[in-house]
Symmetry: C2
Subunit: 289 residues, 2 copies
Amino acid sequence: MSVRPLLAIDWGTTNRRVYRIEDGAVTATERDALGVTAVSDFAGELAAIRARFGDLPVLMAGMVGSTIGWREARYVPAPAGLEDLDQNLLRIDERTAIVPGVSFSDGVRGDVMRGEEVQLLGAVAAGLTPPDALLVQPGTHCKWVEMEGARIARFTTAMTGELFALVRAHGILSAQLGADVVLVDAFRDGVREGAKRDLTGSLFGIRAAKLLGLRGDADAASFASGLIIGADVAARVVEHPFETAYILADPVLGSLYAAAIEVNGRGATIIDSQAAFVAGIFRIGASLS
Amino acid sequence: MSVRPLLAIDWGTTNRRVYRIEDGAVTATERDALGVTAVSDFAGELAAIRARFGDLPVLMAGMVGSTIGWREARYVPAPAGLEDLDQNLLRIDERTAIVPGVSFSDGVRGDVMRGEEVQLLGAVAAGLTPPDALLVQPGTHCKWVEMEGARIARFTTAMTGELFALVRAHGILSAQLGADVVLVDAFRDGVREGAKRDLTGSLFGIRAAKLLGLRGDADAASFASGLIIGADVAARVVEHPFETAYILADPVLGSLYAAAIEVNGRGATIIDSQAAFVAGIFRIGASLS
C-alpha cells in the first residue's frame, strides 16, 4: 500500500468534499457547495484545489464521473471489489483519475451507483463492517447493498429521500409538512404505517388525519418521513433478509434509519461514512502514480 | 320521488359541471374550468347559472362545500346512504343546498370524501352496481369504497394520481416521463412491478433501466403509471378482498385501472360516472323545495 500523499475528492451533484490524505490519515479537508452542477471548468477547479492542498495525485469519485460531470467513467458490473475499481479507473492524466461506478443486473432488474462504492468497500476494508453484511446509505437515493466476501454483490436503490422531498415541496400535503423531522413517537408511528407497504394510501391518510382532527400538523413531517423510510425498510426486510444493517450516514439521518430498522425487528449499527470513504479512496489511490 | 326540475352542480377544485335535470333526465349540461379555486363570488356565479339554465332549485356537491369552497358542509360518518346525505344538506337558502361529504374512522385510521359520495350512491341506486360491491373512483386521489346494503360502509383514498403527477413534473425521473400514458405492454409490466409494493425501490428502477439501456424512454411514462397504479391495486387486493371492482371513470383512465385489476387476477367493470352522479343528485334533490 502506498504511503504517498494523495488528494481525494468526493464530488457529488450539489456538494464537494476535498481530503488530503497522508499515510492513510486526513491532514486537511474542506467541504463546499461546488457540486458538478455548479462547475463548468473542471480542469481549472482541479488546479485551484492543487494550489490550496498541494500539487499531489488526485482521485475523484461520484457524479464527477457521470454524464453531468467532467468525463463519463464506466460502471463496473457487480460483484465488484476494490481491485475492480482500481483496474477500471478513468485516467484524466497520469496522476489524475476518476473512480468508476458499479452496476447490477440479474437480467430482469438493473441498478447503478456512482460514488457510494468507495464508502462501501472502504467500510469493509477498514474493518468497520464484516465482509458479508447488508450496508445502507440513506439519502435522496438510498442504497441497500449486500456485501459478500468484501465485494459489492447486489444492491437496490430506493428513491426514499426524493419522494419525501417531492411530497414536502409540492402537492396537497406540503402545507402540513413544514416542520423539522425528528425522532419522536410520530416518526415511529409512521414507520409502523409504512410497514403496510401502501404508500399511496398511507400518504393520503396524513391529510385525512388533519381534516378529522386525528393528528396535529406539528408531528406530520416526522410521521411522513417515518412512513416513507418505513416503507423502504419493510420492503428491504423482505428483499434482503438480514439481522443487522450497517448504516453509512451522518448521525441525524443515521439515527432515523436505525430507529426504522429497529421498529421492523432488526438491528442497526451506524458507521462513520467519511472514515469509510477515506479508507476506500486511500486503498484505490495506492495504484495511482 | 320529485318530478320537479333541478339544477345540479358537480363543483370541484379545478372544474365545474352543471346539469339541468328534468324528470330524471339531463336536458342541458355544461362543463368549464371555473372550479372553486377560480371563483370568489359564489352567489354571483350561481345567479349567472340560473340565468342560463333556468330559475330552479340548485343542489351542489364537491369541493364547493369545503374550506376552500363557498361554505363548509359537514362530513357524515360512514356507514352512510342517500338518506343520510339528504338529512344533512347544508342549506344556503330554501332552494339552494350543498351535499355533505362522508368520513370514515375505525378509531385508528380515518378518511374523507367530498363529491364522490353522490356518484357512489347514485351508481347503486340506479342499479349500475350491486348494493354490496367494491367501487373505485380513479384520479388524483383514488377512492376505493366498500358498499354494503347500498350504503358507503368504509373506504380508502390513495394518492395515486398525485404521486404520478409529482414524479412526472419534478425530480429525477421527470425528463423520462414526458410521453402519454397508454395501455401497452409496458403499462402491464409496470403493474407487475407495482405488485411488489416497493414504490421507492421500483421508481429508481426506471432511472437505472435508462442508464443501463434496459428499457427505452418511449414507454417509461406508461411503465411508471402502471407501477404506481399497480402498487395501489395490489395494496387494495389485500385490504379489501374482492372478485370484481366497479370503476367509476372516463373510458381512458377506467381502462388503465381495469387492466391493472385484471393483471392482479380480479375482474373489473367500468361504469358511466356521469350517469351515476345524475342518478344520485336527482334522488337527493327530491327533498329540495
